[in-house]
Amino acid sequence: MIPVNDGSLWWGGSSFVELLNMVRSGGGSAPAAGLSGGMDSSRMYPAGSPGSVPVWHGTTVLAMTFRSGVIMAADRQASEGYQVADRAIQKIFPVDRVSAVAIAGAAGPAIEMSRLFRVEIEHYEKLEGVALSLLGKANKLGQMVREHLPLALQGLVVVPLYAGFDDRTGQGRIFKYDAAGGRYEEDEYHANGSGGLFARNVLKMLYHPGMEEAEGILISLRALYEAADDDLGTGGPDFVRGIFPLVYVIDAEGVREIPAEEVARTLKGIGESLRRRVPS
């Protein structure tokens, strides 16, 4: 059915989230708040110790700016407690032609949120005939994280990392969030997730402004390598199964994924350079 409001097609609003909430709550005119679609999430999930339900968690994601845009990278592992739940999940999702979102935290709600975010942005663009500004999109994502807060308090924390190329400034921009929906812009780099601290430390040492793309990819992968080295939840490069971190480059040309062979070659190079330091 074509969605109508009180029997009328003629109603405003360019937000898909509001539309979805309205439809889920039974077509009432007042959109209910929350990702859960009008249902009171505290009723859905009885208060209890977080983590009593087995939930998959995404681990390390990072973003860093370089000369002509921004690079995003993520490992592929999902963990459930101390176990590997999945070795090859996707944690970076292109949102539109100029931006992508990377997720860490409870994998289910995080993937749902990034899907919803993508539709929200596209929905707005189609209805209004013009795309939102990058800052507009970043703020919208902040509101979605904020709406997720009741579930975050139940232990299902979702922390996205949003990065894109801003046509208006001609530069790559990175936005990080906290679980309460706070949006903070980062000029250089940021990493999230259980291995985020280790990745950030590597980036802190190796990052310098105005880097070329190749060097940016190299140090992103190095940061993920070190995160996997020190963090149980983060997956390292898997040469046996051929599973490697995902790397996306976003610049004026758009969003593109770096082919797995190139990522594997760079990681091999990192391995070689580290091996020489180990006395044999």
Partner: protein, 229 residues
């Protein structure tokens, strides 16, 4: 108590149909063609800001003539329908056929129930993929739906333009040729030189993944038509 005059349902519907038709033919035309590159949509539209052609979903485009506010609302309703369906199920499950049915139902209900029928006629183009052929639906103000192929025309003196294009458009026509033909058709209709500026064009491109809809910018339309002469 005064009794309303009796009007036979037949007469009532006929009046409504006439009213709607008059509104639709007052405007300018839109032509949709199947071309090698995909599906080309061209509108005779002097405004750059108010579009008659737009994107509904990954492989579905919308074109509407008649009363702007009415087809604009239909366009938005279609986007809402498609995005909801695509989000709740999967992107592949959004099809032109189901959208066309939803539009047909909506327009049909409006025609029979509302005092004022909608003065619109719309085209819904769904780009085929792999084995699946293109689908082009023309939906009229009363909800009647026509499954068209190769050429579809709505608005203005649509019969004239349709005859003109049907005589000339053959399978395997390119985007550039198609655009030239439609422009000639518009010129024939208006009996005078037709400015490139008045052409709004978009294409559903077969070569692209994901969102196939692309607007042709005025410069691009100009370039495609210039070398045509």
């Amino acid at each position: 108590m005064t009794m309303p005059f009796y009007v036979s349902p037949e007469q009532f519907l006929q009046d409504k149909a006439e009213y709607a038709k008059k509104g639709i033919s007052r405007g300018r035309s839109i032509a949709v063609l199947e071309v090698v590159e995909g599906i080309l949509l061209v509108a005779d539209n002097p405004s750059h800001a108010l579009h008659k052609i737009s994107e509904i979903y990954d492989r579905v485009a919308f074109a509407g003539v008649g009363k702007y506010s009415e087809f604009e609302n239909l366009r938005k309703a279609g986007i809402r329908y498609a995005d909801l369906k695509g989000f709740m199920y999967s992107r592949e499950d959004v099809t032109g056929r189901s959208l066309a049915n939803a539009y047909s139902e909506l327009l049909g209900n409006s025609f029979s129930q509302d005092m004022k029928p909608m003065e619109v006629e719309i085209i819904l183009a769904d780009l085929g993929s792999g084995e699946r052929p293109n689908e082009i639906y023309r939906i009229s103000f009363d909800g009647s739906i026509f499954d068209e192929s190769l050429v579809s025309v709505v608005g203005g003196r649509s019969d004239q333009l349709k005859t003109f294009l049907k005589d000339r458009v053959r399978p395997g026509v390119t985007l550039k040729e198609g655009l030239g033909l439609v422009r000639s058709g518009f010129m024939e209709q208006n009996d005078n030189g037709h400015l490139v500026m008045n052409i709004e064009a978009a294409v559903l491109e077969r070569s692209t993944d994901g969102r196939c809809f692309r607007r042709l910018l005025p410069e691009e339309v100009g370039r495609l038509l210039a070398t045509d002469q």
